[in-house]
Symmetry: C2
Amino acid sequence: MAHKKTLADITIIDVAKEAGVSYSTVSRVVNNKSYVKPETRDKVTQAMNRLGYQVNLQARSLAGGNSHVIGLLVHNMSTQYMSEIFRGIDDVLAAHNYELMLYTTHRRMTKESTYVNMMARGLADGLLIVLPRQPEAYIESLRARDFPYVLIDQVGIDENDVSVTATNFQGGYEATSHLIALGHRRIGKITGWMDMIGARDRLDGYKAALADHDVPLDPQLIVIGDFEKSSGYRGAATLLNLAEPPTAIFASNDVMAQGALELLRECGRHVPQDMSLIGFDDIPLAAILSPPLTTLRQPMVEMGRRATQMLLDWISNPEQKPTSVTLPTELVQRESTSSPRP
Amino acid sequence: MAHKKTLADITIIDVAKEAGVSYSTVSRVVNNKSYVKPETRDKVTQAMNRLGYQVNLQARSLAGGNSHVIGLLVHNMSTQYMSEIFRGIDDVLAAHNYELMLYTTHRRMTKESTYVNMMARGLADGLLIVLPRQPEAYIESLRARDFPYVLIDQVGIDENDVSVTATNFQGGYEATSHLIALGHRRIGKITGWMDMIGARDRLDGYKAALADHDVPLDPQLIVIGDFEKSSGYRGAATLLNLAEPPTAIFASNDVMAQGALELLRECGRHVPQDMSLIGFDDIPLAAILSPPLTTLRQPMVEMGRRATQMLLDWISNPEQKPTSVTLPTELVQRESTSSPRP
DNA sequence: ATGAAAGCGCTAACAC
DNA sequence: GTGTTAGCGCTTTCAT
């Protein structure tokens, strides 16, 4: 045992004694359920304050109540993308006195299910899942127990899943159209994980914009990335080595754009004079790069906020399942895009 | 109640039935404690797998066992500084199958104690506290119950506190000496929160370096900051407006240096030609700024790792309290410092 | 409106 | 080496 419980651990029973009531009455006061005579309630409240009572979340949860904890399942916490989403989550959690259990999966994808099950067994009242790669593995079990969960930046398996996403197709379309409007005809594309719907949507938006503007689609111009900086770097290299290289590159997130920028600099190419570059997300980094990166802003903080609010609503009202929302993206023009050299 | 417990919730009792043993034997197998006949152990293990058993952490914790959760108390999760520290924490937690309860205090300093108490009452087996501002408020209660906790980047009230810090004084000394060696004599200093020992140490290092190199100390050159970008911006403005402005600025973290850089750019000053600039931390951002920032590297990932390892060791061996460690800082020369204009 | 009592799933003595 | 049993602190019927 890691610690000894000292006398400082005062329980509902201590409060009951102090207030001269039964301990189920104390429970009622604490949970604000059913009627308690105002007079009694006062007595109890005062006793609680006097003793400095604090609820034991595990006991409450074990006994069948809410745990007042929500679980957050993320791939990697140390990215600006996640920092932004987290700010939104944290905002609303703090406002509602909820605790947060954080789980980062990294490469250990197999453990996702284990974690989700632990959470669903009472450790948490609900789950926030950011960018899951294979939610199929556990979503079914979540549904089976009517356990509230909201997916962020990933739609689920079907319409039953509650999710918060952005307009990825539109964003891809707009980014590409922006480049076309500038006069580009050969536009390289570095994609994200192709097993993620959002990444596929951005690519589809790219293709649609090309088609709508009668720009031929050259498969060589599409290179598969993985949302990591290094794949942006490699992708840009691939594109640059083409017999007929593009005059602009659309990376499916800012971090890959950063990687591309690095490669371009190393090869002595100037952005945007020699090569236009556009990203996706608008993480804080985007504005700091030189040149500042033109990108498609995704409202990440708001996504975190909305998802959390939806989850909390759902928890407090289990019958009322929230409906998924899609938030708008927006073109942020900075200095990494311009017309191509004549 | 947020969810209904379905038949899928199989407990230690189900496993016991399935294996044909008592449920305390199952508990023994699960916890790997005391001897169980290998044969019995196998039977139980198989039953567990067959049923897909998973321990209920709250029940375990309530019953007096370890919760296998550690609490992390931070001021703000959405900074690169924290992202780095978190990577270290996450690394070792994952390796030891520990869960993480995250609590961000923001401006709600009053809630720190409440949270710490909740954790200490069984929700967590130990606590990691990053950069607390007023730990006095609750550290006493932690000690009173022999509850394991490790402070990161903050020494405690006295030698009894276990902490992981970096050589802030040395770092401040080295940063300043670097500037002096370059030929600077008027060196501005933007400090961090002055209620934090680390920030005071960096300032003291600055003063000591000045004294050792016979550079007069001008109080006007010291402006109080708060580790936020905006205070770096304002601090630089103050310094620039001095009758006799400095030729170099030492900001107590990279984020304030970033703020200073912004102000400098807006005022048309070139770094490092018109003004040398040095930061502290070496967050990823530092290398990306233009010009890339010279700074004092603090081994943040390692700090997180060490602290977590110490905490876990302590938890598994309560009699053996770990001893605090101080990790070395290191000058990282990039392009934001040079000799002053003649 | 309030009290009594039965568990929630588990650990940790204590028996055998 | 394994079974029995008493709680951990709380929520929730069920009485009253």
